[in-house]
């Protein structure tokens, strides 16, 4: 039973436009959320995170939005660049067992030049 879901396996966006990647979760105990980016043949690398006490966190071109009532988070990339083409995973943890991350199945983003 997947507790973190990414329902879009892929997304294609034109360079310079906004990329929006979505993630839903079912466990209301989750209070810390992360996005990881993965290139082929490499391990995932941390991108950005958000605690449940916030509804937005911004880092350069990357912004994560959290909607706790809807159990939904999204990652916005503005403007998108070809180098952003990768698989993006969202992950979540709860305060009881915070070292255990639950990952979604990933969204493959393709940014076209």
């Amino acid at each position: 039973d997947q507790q973190v879901k990414q329902n879009s396996p892929s997304l294609s966006v034109q360079e310079g436009r906004i990329s929006i990647l979505n993630c839903d979760y079912t466990n209301s105990m989750f209070d810390y959320f992360l996005w990881y980016k993965k290139y082929p043949a490499e391990g995932p690398t941390f991108l950005i995170s958000i605690s449940s006490i916030k509804d937005k966190n911004e880092d350069g071109r990357f912004t994560v939005f959290l909607n706790k009532s809807a159990k939904h988070l999204s990652l916005h990339i503005v403007p998108s660049q070809p180098g952003d083409s990768a698989v993006y995973f969202c992950a979540a943890s709860d305060s009881y067992n915070f070292n255990k991350f639950y990952f979604g199945s990933g969204t493959k983003l393709n940014v076209k030049p």
């Binding site: 973190v4 810390y32 490499e42 391990g43 995973f89 992950a91 915070f98 991350f101 639950y102 199945s105």
Partner: protein, 117 residues
């Protein structure tokens, strides 16, 4: 090295063989994690070490899976009597903090791709 390294990068095993996968975490990192990533899926938590202590092994799918970190640095994930369903990428991650340090970034290695024939 600067990052987490894993060896071998690729492993082909015949069904029933035992395999051992190695992880070298970033020097000084207290916490170490193992994940299993099946094709088309996200990483799934297997087990977690703080130094040499295995604090959580709730994700290990069966008693054929065993992990150790005897000196608190290098870790080995061992799979006995491999089955086809064990085919996956096994990822190792490490983080600097441990214990009650909540917001620790986990740094991932490139993974070992295991194929069981």
């Amino acid at each position: 090295g600067a990052g987490v390294s894993q060896s071998p990068r690729y492993k082909v095993a015949k069904r029933g063989q035992d395999v051992a996968l190695r992880c070298d975490p970033i020097s000084g990192h207290v916490s170490l994690f193992w994940y299993q990533q099946a094709l088309g899926q996200g990483p799934e938590f297997l087990t977690y070490f703080q130094n040499e202590a295995q604090l959580d092994k709730s994700g290990l799918p069966s008693d054929r899976f065993f992990a150790e970190r005897p000196e608190g640095s290098v870790s080995t994930l061992k799979i006995q009597r491999t089955q086809q369903e064990d085919s996956a990428v096994y990822l190792c991650a490490s983080s600097l903090g441990g214990g009650q340090t909540r917001y620790n970034e986990q740094f991932f290695g490139p993974g070992t791709r295991l194929t069981v024939l």
